[in-house]
């Protein structure tokens, strides 16, 4: 579905992404995991050409993404990110309907799609359709952001730490939403996060990046069992240790 070939991004002398190659299968959710400066966001943005690569290429369904105009490419790829970037002067419906409108869908089809999507992200269409971003909570804004990304029925969805700024409960609910959305629509997702638990919870496979290089690519179970190097081992150890501490605390409470 998505193929990255020797993908490289340099800013001056700094190599941000270094000859990264990987494949994402149709319908898969691949997590790009890494700390800040690992190159995960840059990699994601090279898929929809928000960032142009210095070398290497990105193929979607076998076609080089540089073969089409960036704007046309992006209308086929959903994108949601931590800062959301809802248009402050537009209503929720206008924001969600923007890509279908740009694609020239008929008004009735756009309106129906907006309601479907709001239901999909668990927002009541009648209540939220005409609200402005300023009238929404952070979690609601993020739901609208995901709905906007899915509006034009894209085959690929790019998510860049979409729940990073939310409180744990809201984040948990939205993670559950993503899982349920995946079961309803067979979209291919690339999901950037630095949160190990989120990666383990959501990812079919996880690509661990460090200093722009691919350190390990595998299923959550593989990463947990056979970390490729001490860095990955340390990454995986953190959630496990937290889990043990929480378990122990919970156990002692019962005593």
């Amino acid at each position: 579905m998505i193929v990255l070939e020797q993908l490289t991004k340099r800013y001056g002398d700094a190599v941000v992404v270094d000859r990264l190659s990987l494949e994402v299968a149709r319908g898969e959710l691949l997590v790009l995991l890494g700390g800040s400066g690992s190159g995960k966001t840059t990699t994601l943005k090279m898929i929809n050409r928000l960032v142009e690569p210095s070398a290497g290429r990105v193929l979607i369904d076998g076609a080089d993404v540089t073969a089409v105009e960036p704007a046309a490419l992006r209308r086929r790829i959903g994108y949601a990110f931590q800062q959301v970037g809802l248009f402050p002067h537009m209503t929720v419906a206008e924001s969600v309907g923007i890509t279908p409108a740009l694609l020239g869908w008929e008004a009735a089809r756009v309106a129906a799609r907006i309601d479907t999507l709001l239901e999909l992200v668990e927002l009541d269409p009648a209540t939220f359709r005409d609200r402005r971003p300023a009238e929404l909570s952070g979690g609601q804004q993020q739901r609208v952001g995901v709905a906007r990304a899915l509006a034009a029925e894209p085959a690929v969805l790019l998510l860049d730490e979409p729940f990073g700024a939310l409180d744990p409960l809201t984040r948990d609910r939205l993670q559950q939403s993503i899982i349920s959305i995946r079961t309803k629509i067979g979209v291919t997702i690339v999901f950037v996060t630095h949160d190990m638990v989120e990666a383990l919870l959501l990812g079919d496979r996880i690509a661990v990046l460090r200093d722009g290089r691919l350190v390990q690519l595998g299923t959550p179970a593989e990463l947990l069992r056979r970390p490729a190097d001490p860095y990955v081992a340390q990454l995986m150890e953190t959630p496990l240790r937290h889990g043990r501490i929480v378990d122990a605390l919970a156990g002692s409470q019962q005593d």
Partner: protein, 523 residues
């Protein structure tokens, strides 16, 4: 309501309409230039900085100077187009004022456009790109709508500035509410000044409110407000367009355009000239309150047909002569020849009086200090302050005068001529460079110091006519010629005093003079 105020209010529709015309057109041009320029600049940061820098430099030019500089610039352009295309460009009046005001309106709008676009949340810009907007769609659907309040704030700033600055169109020959202010200050008619200021302030507030209402309506999606504000603005623009085209199309029987500089005597004399031209059967228009060299430039290129200047002024500022001849007749002859040969300007008549620079002191102080002649002043000057109008200290006459006597004052202060007399009368300054026909010399008990070394050139008042007037309107020129020798210095002083001291209108004083002259002629 006092009669003075009623007289002034009668002029309001004319001046307000002219002011509105200039303001609205300059704003329209400024906005249509600056917003695209701002968008362009915000896409290219380096070029944007250059554009903003250039606009800032324009803004630092004093506004009166910027407007006045348009006159010689347009005159030069006019000479070029006349030579190459046979098309003339008017160098005074509407055009230079419009260009100057437009340039002035650029900075606030340009700056706010750049700031407004740069101020859009980067996350929103990224989202706009990510949902598949092209650069142009992003600009139209996201960046401009979000930057709109800031851009509109720039337009509002520009509107208020331009309304205020448009009052400075008067000295470049475009009527505006500034006519009230300039002539009012010169003729001590404070009702006029007040009407001018209040009207300009009111206009600024109204325009500001209209633009604000329009923007607020758009943002709050209140169609009624938008439509109402747009209708009012549109009506103003239609009115402007109509009067402008009427001015251009209905321009066929060209009026004889008479100029006046910015002091009382010039207002009175322009009224006298206008009366003569009208009596000769030609349509006439008076352009008052022109800057000194603006008037001559405009006469030379035919935008102005006729005005009164002074031989010494022409001698020094146009002929660039630094010698100071004392023979009035010789100066007149040489100047007449120079103007005819070198500028195509005809000296129609010498009115019969001189209005020379004269150093004056308060009579009691001069008496106490034993100063009768300028020579007597030399030893005391280092303890004294001298006041003058804006021009004098930079004119060759002052250099010649101070060199001839070796005059060095403790301080030189430039001020408005109308204030200069008060300052010397009140004792705030010791000496002033007065005009010898000014009625305030007698009124304020000032003493004219003898120019015992003959360092001040003669300043015969002369009626100058453009080449066009001489060619096309021989009857008008003949009528003006009859004014030769018609006014002596004492008569001129009395007429000036009638305006300055008795608060009569220049037109009124001119009418009285002509009536008396006609009566005398009939006897």
């Amino acid at each position: 309501m006092s009669e003075a105020l009623r007289d002034q209010l009668a002029l309001l529709p004319t001046y307000l309409a002219a002011h509105l015309q200039l303001t609205l057109l300059a704003l329209l041009l400024g906005t249509t230039l600056s917003i695209p320029l701002g968008i362009w600049a915000s896409r290219r940061p380096r070029a944007g900085r250059v554009a903003l820098g250039a606009a800032s430099v324009l803004q630092t030019i004093p506004s009166l100077a910027l407007l006045a500089m348009m006159v010689p610039a347009l005159a030069a352009l006019g000479r070029a187009t006349q030579a190459s295309l046979g098309v003339t460009v008017p160098s005074i009046g509407f055009l230079p004022a419009l260009i100057g005001l437009t340039l002035y309106s650029i900075l606030p709008i340009l700056q706010n456009t750049v700031i407004g676009i740069a101020g859009v949340d980067p996350a929103v810009v990224e989202a706009a790109r990510a949902v598949g907007m092209t650069d142009r769609q992003r600009l139209r659907r996201v960046e401009l709508p979000l930057a709109l309040p800031v851009i509109v704030a720039g337009v509002r700033t520009a509107a208020v500035w331009v309304v205020g600055l448009a009052t400075l169109s008067t000295p470049v020959g475009a009527p505006s509410l500034g006519n009230y202010i300039f002539s009012g200050l010169q003729t001590r008619n404070f009702a006029a000044v007040l009407v001018g200021c209040v009207a300009a302030a009111a206009l600024a507030l109204v325009l500001d409110a209209l633009v604000h209402a329009l923007e607020h309506g758009v943002r709050a999606r209140r169609r009624g407000v938008v439509v109402a504000a747009a209708l009012v603005l549109a009506a103003l623009y239609v009115h402007t367009a109509a009067t402008l085209t009427a001015g251009i199309v209905g321009h066929a029987p060209r009026a004889v355009v008479i100029g006046a500089k910015t002091f009382t005597e010039q207002y009175v004399l322009s009224a006298i000239l206008a009366d003569r031209v009208a009596a000769a059967g030609a349509p006439v228009r008076v352009v008052p309150s022109l800057g000194s060299t603006v008037a001559f430039d405009a006469l030379r290129d035919g935008t102005l047909d006729c005005y009164v200047d002074y031989s010494g002024t022409i001698w020094a500022t146009i002929m660039h002569r630094t010698d100071v001849p004392s023979d009035r007749a010789a100066v007149l002859t040489e100047m007449t020849q120079f103007l005819r040969d070198r500028a195509g300007v005809t000296v129609v008549a010498a009115l019969g009086f001189e209005n020379a620079y004269a150093l004056v002191m308060r009579d009691d102080r001069a008496r106490a200090a034993g100063v009768r002649r300028i020579s007597d002043l030399v030893a005391r000057a280092p303890q004294l302050t001298i006041a003058s109008d804006y021009e004098f200290f930079s004119r060759p006459e002052w250099r010649a005068l101070s060199a001839a006597y070796g005059l060095h004052f403790a301080a030189q202060r430039s001020m408005d001529p109308s204030l200069m007399y008060q300052a010397v009368a009140a004792g705030d300054v010791d000496v002033a460079s007065a005009f010898s026909t000014d009625g305030r010399i007698a009124a304020f008990d000032l003493r004219v110091l003898d120019d015992d070394r003959g360092a001040i050139p003669p300043y015969d008042a002369i009626v100058l006519a453009s080449a066009r007037l001489v060619r096309d309107e021989p009857r008008v020129v003949a009528a003006l010629t009859t004014l030769a020798g018609a006014i002596d210095a004492e008569t001129m002083r009395r007429m000036n005093a009638a305006v300055d001291q008795d608060a009569r209108s220049p037109e009124d004083v001119a009418r009285e003079f002509l009536a008396r002259r006609d009566a005398a002629g009939a006897r």
